[in-house]
């Protein structure tokens, strides 16, 4: 069942193509699911099981692997970062450690991510959902510029949902659970995208304890009281109240990637999140786009004024059609404006031939 991984176009001509002007997300396109989570939470196994589940339903997904350091990918992959950048070679060539190499690979992939989005758009009719498996080191993705660019590129193109995988077996400690949820909340604030928390490894430890903690603040506080030291008492209590607000409206799913339990719920949560994307993210994106357009317009006006200020006084009597001359002269000037300041522009003006 292994599918041929698609290669990204590599010719310089293709790479330098002008991107089409951004018109807003295509809400009718199939959603992309960004799978995030701490190291060892079971992201890759989750993607494997979800892929198998979707294939069994005859609705195959489009799968993208963004982990350059993984040795084997246990699912059929359509786009693989390892085909574009070689992790071990990056380590050798740039003299980097594993962390630096992962971030560099992501940065390099990021420069071609517009091509990945083109591929997703092109294949949209052939798949039910696009799954993106991220690197094991969550920090390498969430706290890097490339991670933000990849997330924003997807979100501005079509419906995108973040899935945060939690290892149920390790979340039984209330402090660890709180830390995990704070980090999830942190990612929510960074991405501002529909968010699903997936409690994985339900076959090892039933995550009912987590759901109870999320629904009942008092119960969580009792568990915290037993586990914590007095040093963090008040802060922990206040933070659990903060998290109580975070849980309101948060979608949670309990799954086992080993047994396949709970994956129907995952699909339901995805559908609900896509609706949330359409209702909340798209208007937000359009608002941001309109503001940007306004700013660009103001910037252009300012530039035009600066250009006119530095304009040489011409003897218009010598010109057959003064209006036409002024317009062509102005256009040629605007083309020559660079990112330097007004002084540089004035110096350029001084070098212009005076008629």
């Amino acid at each position: 069942m292994a599918e041929k991984a698609e290669n990204l176009p590599s010719s310089s001509a293709e790479a330098s193509e002008e991107p089409s002007p951004q018109t807003g997300p295509n809400v009718n396109q199939k959603p992309s699911i960004l799978v995030l989570g701490m190291a060892g939470s079971g992201k890759t196994t989750f993607v494997q099981r979800l892929t198998a589940f979707l294939h069994a339903r005859k609705t195959p997904p489009y799968v993208i692997n963004l982990d350059p350091a993984v040795s084997k990918v246990p699912y059929p992959v359509n786009v693989d970062i390892r085909d574009t950048v070689k992790y071990k070679e990056v380590m050798k060539e740039f003299g980097m450690g594993p962390n630096g190499a992962i971030m560099t690979c992501l940065n390099l992939m990021c420069t071609r991510f517009d091509k990945v989005i083109e591929l997703i758009n092109k294949r949209s009719s052939d798949f039910s959902v696009c799954l993106l498996d991220t690197p094991g080191q969550i920090e390498a993705f969430t706290w890097s510029a490339s991670g933000s660019i990849i997330t924003d590129s997807l979100a501005s193109s079509h419906p995108t949902v973040v899935m945060y995988i939690v290892d149920s077996a390790r979340a039984t400690n209330p402090t660890t659970f709180m830390s995990n949820m704070l980090y999830a909340c942190s990612i929510l604030y960074r991405t501002k995208l529909p968010f699903i928390v997936v409690f994985n490894k339900a076959d090892i430890v039933k995550p009912t304890f987590a759901l109870k903690w999320m629904q009942d603040f008092e119960r969580f506080d009792e568990a915290l009281e037993d586990a914590r030291s007095s040093y963090m008492n008040d802060l922990s209590r206040s933070l659990s109240l903060v998290l109580d607000e975070f849980y309101c409206g948060l979608k949670t799913v309990c799954v086992s990637s080993a047994t396949g339990e709970g994956f129907e719920d995952v699909m339901t949560a995805i559908d609900e999140s896509v609706e949330a994307y359409k209702k909340e993210y798209v208007p937000m994106y359009e608002k941001v786009l309109a503001e940007k357009k306004l700013l660009d317009e103001e910037e252009r006006k300012k530039r035009d004024e600066e250009t006119l200020k530095g304009k040489a006084v011409h003897d218009l009597n010598k010109v057959a059609n003064p209006d036409e001359f002024l317009e062509s002269e102005l256009n040629s000037k605007i083309d020559r404006i660079h990112l330097g300041g007004v002084d540089e522009e004035n110096e350029e003006d001084a070098e212009l031939e005076r008629s």
């Binding site: 060892g40 450690g97 969550i138 390790r170 980090y183 501002k192 941001v288």
Partner: protein
Amino acid sequence: MYGVLVIGAPGAGKSTFCAGLTDIFSQTKRPFLTINLDPANDTMAYAPDVNITEMITVNDVMDRLGLGPNGALKYCIETLGANCNWLLQKIEANHKKYLIIDCPGQLELYKSEGELWKVIRFLEKSGVRLCALHLADSLYCSDPSKFISVALSTLATMVTMEMPQVNCLSKADLFSEDGTYDLEFFSHLPDVNRLLDLLNEVPGLEKYRKLNEAICGVISDFDLVSFVPLAVENKESMMKVIQMVDAANGFSLTEQGDIRELILNSKA
């Protein structure tokens, strides 16, 4: 024994900060011991006195056991945990020196009962008074939502570390002054209500008004999530951070001598 535990996400500038500390301590004649606990950190701007790579390296583990970088890192820290006495012996051989401990960036290592968490608890029980210094890239303070994101991840480490913590916004010299917000606003947070208003204006966060309110409440109530701008090249900035760390781990009190001795002397 006193020391600082330098933590933060990969690329936040931990090793650069440690190198800056070694420079300043050399100039101020403060005896120090640099310890690198990141087995994947092989290009450092300073020469560590104690290095986990003397015992084990990520690359070796990856090659020998066929593990990925994550598994290898956890294996290395577990190995360190099993050989905590090796680390303690190295520290005790330099017991008069101030410890600068450079840590890995992976958050899961610090979780309660996590691999590195156990090592830190062992050092504390052995009489090492530590203060955590959490570095976050100041470039993430370009807007309020990203700042809150930084604050939340900082709180996540504070809760699990259970020790005094100083929070810094590193690379402050690279922060763009012509942005909408200046670094002072985020580092001192004198006006949490203003931050709340800004958060509620951020597109996409309107529906999280109550959550915004709760987070800002914690920030103002505890005054724990204040950030110090840090530019390693700037001596004043570094000295300010050092003062805060010394106050947090109790080193600044050592100049007065042991309080018990002072009491005994006054009675005599």
